[in-house]
Symmetry: C3
Subunit: 677 residues, 3 copies
């Protein structure tokens, strides 16, 4: 096995997209490479869905067309990110191994005909993907075009869970390895409740269809199991490739857009982190979630540069209302990814498909062809990336961390919670947006990480918090950190069991408060909190209130109305050298920013003033900093930075002006351009 | 077999809850009994979900822990309501007898992992529950702690229907016993429609998945069959217990909260009636439905005192927004149950679970522990029940009956009715609330009951009304009674066949009106009716109008607008010595109270004036009456009654003042405190 | 085999309904025929659901009751439309051939107990229906009462698709016949996308449950296959009948109310076209859709008179809110059908059923009996039809055609389209309503039809448009026609593949425009367009905008707001002798009428002025024209026509006045009464 590189062998920033030439004639291939060169494309992903063409019958391979394709690309100076086609086994596979089909919770068997997703627990599937990955690596491990391996595609979507008999058998083995004894499993799952005690490993079931709510600890383990199964499949392919090839191996994540995979764990397994991102059209400020996804991707990558493997030039096709991007929007989106650590900007896909499920998905070459706004913007963006090539390898630094834990998300998403309106994703976005609008660049972190380098740590949704993690947070505060915790945090342990001592008990020392009782509100009911400082302003608050038990904390806001009227709503507590803040109700973004303003003061965070639609992030390089500015507003906006705008070639004279909808990448002296944090 | 007692051997009013110590350490048991004594708990239900611990392998019993538990409780003066664990068979049962699993209408097999509900038609299940109940009764039939048997749990939820092959086979046998001949079945089901004629018993299907709407008479029989299956299982356990034990046997109903069981029939089978009740959080006046459930429970119990087996100290966990009870609300809820005939007040559950599906359900000891508002209110309530002990055994009397028939509910819930907006439960609540706000205490009655002792009978939703029942109502009116009938009543017979003679024909004599055509309104459309008496006031009316055919009735209100504009809306008819009223449209509660005011005058019902948020019900004892008052409003309210408030020890001086949110139980002279009816 | 007649042997206009006497006693039959004579009924449909009674055991027939029934009807002068009962096989059939049951996409097996729909691919089913149809034809082919054969009932509802193993096997055969080679299939379906390439016919699946969106070209073929299967079953029965009988054979369509059958193809197979129509109650102007359905029925019938086989006297029973028809509404509905080509007016059903799924469906004899408004209106309508008997055989002529293509509907209904708000049916209704309110009578046409006789052709929803069809439309314009095309037309070919050249490329010559990019709007967003003629008025526009590429067209309106603000919205192009209009956004009916006004001018269409609630259509006879007027408004309305109102016997004196809610049928000179077109 060969040691892998940590970045694809390619000059400057990478630019390109998924390339699926099997849908087109050979003549189109020639046109494609000419246009790629026109656009500055230097990297394309190929072969992701090509299993049926590479292995038309079981064990019979046809690599001729791929040979020709790679040679053509290489001859034109275009590097290749070579896919393994495991995401979509061919029709013959499902016909030969029908028991490898995924089964839903209700027992429905998922057939062929869309993306041919197979059961990840299937031994036949695992054998087939190892063989295919090995054959590809043997043949192309030394091909000069191939600079990276792209295993599978978006693990966990469109299906993650599998209730096939083989998956259930794997599940029992997984549980035996996890718990060793049935006593441990019974204890972890609390099977004494509702008479669910197990006396034999063979009696253990999967959380399929049942008369009512399934044991929540079992479901949480099921989510871990599912994620583990997917990771096992990735490792099988990665290792098969490494037998023959030394290029870095990646797979494309969907940070904050798919939910079955724990990216903290996945990022340990890849050589380079890649991410796909698509705007959510109903959200008029979808670019805020884009920033969140980019920051999360960089964070799981340990702060290292990463690859934006897919985004779209304009509309997608799978939402209810596939809003097209308007002039300049693709450039802004791309620059935000760059600003937040991406050293590659790639699209799905190169040329819009005429057939199939995604023919209405935008592409670098739209159905309208190259005489189109989209194509002109694609060419322009290629130029920008060339101009900004020196940004490559620079890093983002943040003083603030936001806690993000997929296990907590899985646990909070289980059934029968106090209120349907309390959602991990909703609060994550609200707190993130507050910080984003304040111009504060953040990292994401796991609650067990070393947080000491951060001035401020924010926990928008830490429902599941192990005792170990709570101790870590408490030590962080004791050591001088500032911690801001949202309600419904610190409630359960790793088995979804309520912590002894009452709700929030594990954070009692850090926050100086615990919760006597949750007070969910009826749908549509609203209330308000009043800050108890000099200004006494009121802000709206809905969904949730609490009966708090003060254990040393001071009250910073109290409920004006609602079930806890007159009682504490927001508290602040000094613990050791640091401070713990607690927000016990749902505030909107404006309300959160009111709280954050005071929290920043405790933490020593000083955002730079600018319009809250001007996104500014600094990448720090070996010799220079690069201030990337994206103006999401209609009006020109200014930001204090001295240096050269790499895109225009203009010097800023100390203040950058970015036109409405425009972007800039300013090379400046090291550590003088602020990043708002 | 031993004759059973009709009330558990216990002093005064019973107080306690479900106790599930198998979830806790032995040390916690000792703490529990001390706290139970502090709170005045004298009865706990145990073992309801303990099958897997009592019989860890098939045929292998472990009673040691139960022995120890019962001895501990007895030593501390706490009586036991001993559960049979048939609601939740162990994992080994489903592994050994997979064909005993419930199957849904669509063919999905309901597995283990939540509440392990089994097919009630399964011979293996029936044998297993008989054996377990027998073993428990043999061992604990003479245990001094055990004062009652609690068979199963909430029959009919979370699943009632079962389409497993064994259930379908049982169904055919049930039909053969019911109809004897296929000719009778074909006639009853109207199989001539849509070509559904059966020529062989083996061809008869269950109403599982079909291309479109299933034969409604078949579905109605299926509901009866399902209910019968559940009752058969209860009787199997009851009789197994009676082989060895003489304590009364009960099972916990969910009156007006679950819908698969006909409580008129079930109440005949138990020694004492028990009920579970949970507030429906979206309803800001959920206490009105609580009163309804309590009155319904008392009514199926034949007016005798009953056991409130479960309610909650605060929030539940299985609704979308689990609103917590505020200070005093648990007390008000408990006193309403007492007022309406409960001689026991019990909760689910004693101590909040740390694990499992219901860990966010409130309990007598919350997660916050005993230093909490909830615990203090639990202790206070225990004191109240001790102070009011003499209420035990007294009864409620009502002059008004509301007709309630589960078969009519089942029939009205079938598919393809004239309007989705016409709902049994909606109208039941509206009429009940009108009477409740008028301070009129009601019984519920089946339409075939002897109604002669009531001044007024109200039929909010008697869609299915047999010829026999219609004759009973007609005779009631002829004999001097007052009958108030809502639209969509008297439509079909016991086979869901439209009565000959047109809609409402069976009540034509009593009401002096039939219906030429239903006139459902479009969603959101509103209209009004105008009363034709001197006042000529208009009230809103929506959802439904009718073309009425007057057959002797006088018009009391007519339609101002809508499809029947200008035509009769509300009628009054003299028949024999009595009067029949008919309301042909949907009125809101205020509109119904306008009608009721006139109806009371006919019936000789005279409610006592008080704020309509002051709930007052009288229990009549052997020597005294007890006026129970619950103030659901924020302001103090007065009610004319002379006597001693058992909770405060204060004499009322002829007028009781109840603080906002407060309660009172006034011992007064017999039959002088009015009950508003 | 005997040649079939093209119209049932019956005098004048036919009047009657479905007659299901098997639900009633023999005494009721006698009453029925007397009442039929009173109402003027001369045709009834019998036996549609009688399989279980005609063949109570497999191979054992009982025709005695049918003999008696037909003789009774014949003796009373009532002709019979004799049903074949294939829509509802008996219980014994499903018991004997369980593999003939329909299976849903998710694998649920559809059982007996509602309408017993069988798999149309089942050989046993096909054999059984051929045998039954043959037996009926042998016995009744010469019965004097029988004037028509009514095969099956409403093909395609309640289920069309079938995923049973036998259906999947038939599907593979169908595909082999369609494509001959797998290469052709792979190309047509674009299986290169998502790796769906097939290498063996046995590997081809049906579009059942899959992890995500199924190949759209496969789904489109599946819709064609399903339709073909149904047609094959019809032909089997039709041909079995023709072995023995010469009466015309029909089956009842549900034009624009069921969606699985391509009526252009079906109408070729029947001797006479029949249609069922039911008002959609939530639509306050449901009579507009009624007109659309009637015009569509006439159009598929090639302009020949047709049979309204079912409609309702008042409410149906299967909608959420089954609104009853008010006085006069049944007459108006019936006359609209007559006006648009129906020479028979029939109802479901004669007498309201007391039992079964449809007992709340209105009938000619309602539950209230004959002393009812409904019955009186039934008798009145019978008189009208007798008075208007001479209308029979006359035809409707139109100058305007609306394109309607079931294949395009199927394709547009597939998943993952640009906007959920763009719907075939919604736009079809909007354009039709604009024309209807303008008083313009239209035909429907397939885009490949010869359109040269129309002044104007409107394409509200031609998403799928083959190159051949586009050439046809282009030639139509070139030859002098006026074409009005709505957005999202001309997008894909017969395989749901995007046409080369960009969206709308096939119509580029005709319209002078193509589409660079779709710009769907977010839900609820609104915008406006401004006409660029002298008036410069603005009209609202929502759901959709486009970036248009002008290729010769002139701009008639531009976007005031929205994603395409300032750009062209509506265009007009001269091509050859004709004109092509294009509307690139969603206008409401008023907005469309603004466009139509200008389009009419190009086309030479001159609607007659009248209130837009007065529906007027002319039928052209051999000797006279008949102007049928239906007033949907409350006020009297006038229309210029000279002649005799056949219903009243009054002469019009040059101007007809129709009372609010009233109707008229005026015999006038040939071709002098205008039809608004």
């Amino acid at each position: 096995m060969t040691a892998a590189a940590s970045w694809p062998r390619i000059e400057g920033l990478a630019y390109g997209g998924d390339y699926n030439p099997e849908q087109w004639s050979r003549a189109t291939w020639d046109e494609d490479v000419l246009l790629m060169r026109e656009a500055g494309v230097n990297l394309v992903s190929v072969g992701i869905f090509s299993w049926a063409l590479l292995e038309p019958k079981e064990g019979l391979y046809d690599f001729a067309w791929m040979d020709e394709l790679l040679d053509l690309l290489h001859a034109n100076g275009i590097a290749v990110d070579l896919g393994t086609p495991s995401v979509s086994p061919p029709a013959w596979f499902f016909h030969a191994y029908p028991e490898s089909r995924v089964v839903t919770k209700d027992g429905t068997v998922m057939g062929f005909g869309s993306r041919g997703m197979a059961s990840h627990a299937s031994p036949e599937y695992r054998e087939a993907i190892a063989r295919m990955a090995g054959e590809l690596a043997r043949r192309y491990g030394n091909h000069p075009a191939v600079v990276m391996w792209h295993v599978h595609n978006e693990y966990g979507v469109p299906v993650g869970e599998d209730f096939s008999p083989r998956a259930v058998a794997s599940w029992r083995g997984w549980l035996q390895r996890r718990y060793s004894t049935l006593e441990a499993l019974n204890s972890a799952w609390g099977t004494a409740f509702w008479g669910q005690h197990y006396d034999d490993w063979e009696h253990v079931v999967a959380p399929a269809a049942t008369p009512t709510t399934v044991n929540p600890a079992m479901k949480l383990d099921w989510a871990r199991f599912t994620d583990d199964q997917l990771r096992e499949c990735f490792v099988i392919e990665r290792d098969a490739i490494r037998e023959h090839a030394s290029q870095p191996v990646t797979t494309n994540f969907m940070a904050h857009q798919s939910w079955n995979v724990d990216l903290w764990k996945w990022a340990q397994l890849v050589d380079v982190v890649s991410d796909d991102h698509y705007l959510w059209a109903p959200d008029p400020d979808a670019h805020v979630l884009l920033s969140l996804a980019a920051d999360l991707t960089r964070s799981v990558a340990g702060g290292k540069p990463w690859i934006l493997m897919e985004h779209s030039t304009s509309a997608v096709n799978w939402q209810g209302h596939n809003v097209a991007k308007r002039a300049g929007e693709m450039r802004r989106n791309s620059l935000t990814h760059l600003a937040r650590g991406a050293d590659a900007v790639m699209f799905f896909q190169w040329r819009a498909s005429r057939s199939g499920a995604e023919k209405f998905h935008s592409a670098m070459i739209p159905h309208a062809g190259t005489n189109s706004r989209l194509w002109r913007e694609v060419v322009e963006l290629g130029g920008h990336l060339k101009d900004a090539a020196e940004v490559r390898g620079s890093v983002v630094r943040a003083d603030v961390a936001v806690l993000y834990d997929w296990e907590s998300l899985w646990a909070q998403d289980l059934e029968w919670r106090p209120s349907d309106d309390v959602q991990f994703r909703e609060r994550m976005r609200a707190y993130y947006e507050g910080l984003w609008r304040d111009g504060v660049t953040v990292d994401f972190a796991h609650p067990t990480h070393d947080l000491s380098r951060y001035k401020l740590v924010v926990a928008p949704a830490s429902y599941l918090l192990t005792a170990e993690a709570a101790a870590n947070l408490t030590a962080y505060v004791a050591g001088g950190g500032t911690l801001l915790v949202n309600f419904f945090s610190g409630i359960v342990d790793e088995h979804d069991a309520v912590h002894a001592g009452g709700f929030g008990a594990p954070l009692k020392d850090a926050l100086g408060v615990t919760v006597e009782e949750f007070l969910p509100m009826r749908p549509g009911d609203t209330a308000a909190v009043r800050f108890t400082d000099g200004h006494a302003r009121e802000v709206p608050a809905d969904v949730w209130q609490e009966d708090l038990i003060l254990a040393g904390a001071e009250v910073k806001a109290e409920y004006v109305s609602g079930p806890a009227a007159g009682k504490p709503a927001i508290t602040r507590h000094t613990h050791g050298q640091g401070v713990g803040w607690y927000v016990s109700t749902r505030l909107d973004v404006a309300g959160l920013r009111s709280v954050l303003e005071a929290v920043y003061a405790d933490a020593g965070v000083s955002p730079v003033a600018r319009p809250d639609t001007l996104e500014v992030v600094t990448r720090h390089g070996a010799h220079h900093d690069f201030v990337v500015a994206i103006n999401h507003g209609d009006d020109a906006a200014r930001y204090p930075v001295a240096g050269l705008d790499l895109l225009t070639g203009d010097e800023t004279n100390g203040e950058l002006e970015v036109q409405g909808g425009g972007v800039a990448v300013v090379r400046t002296a090291r550590d003088t351009g602020g990043d708002g944090g």
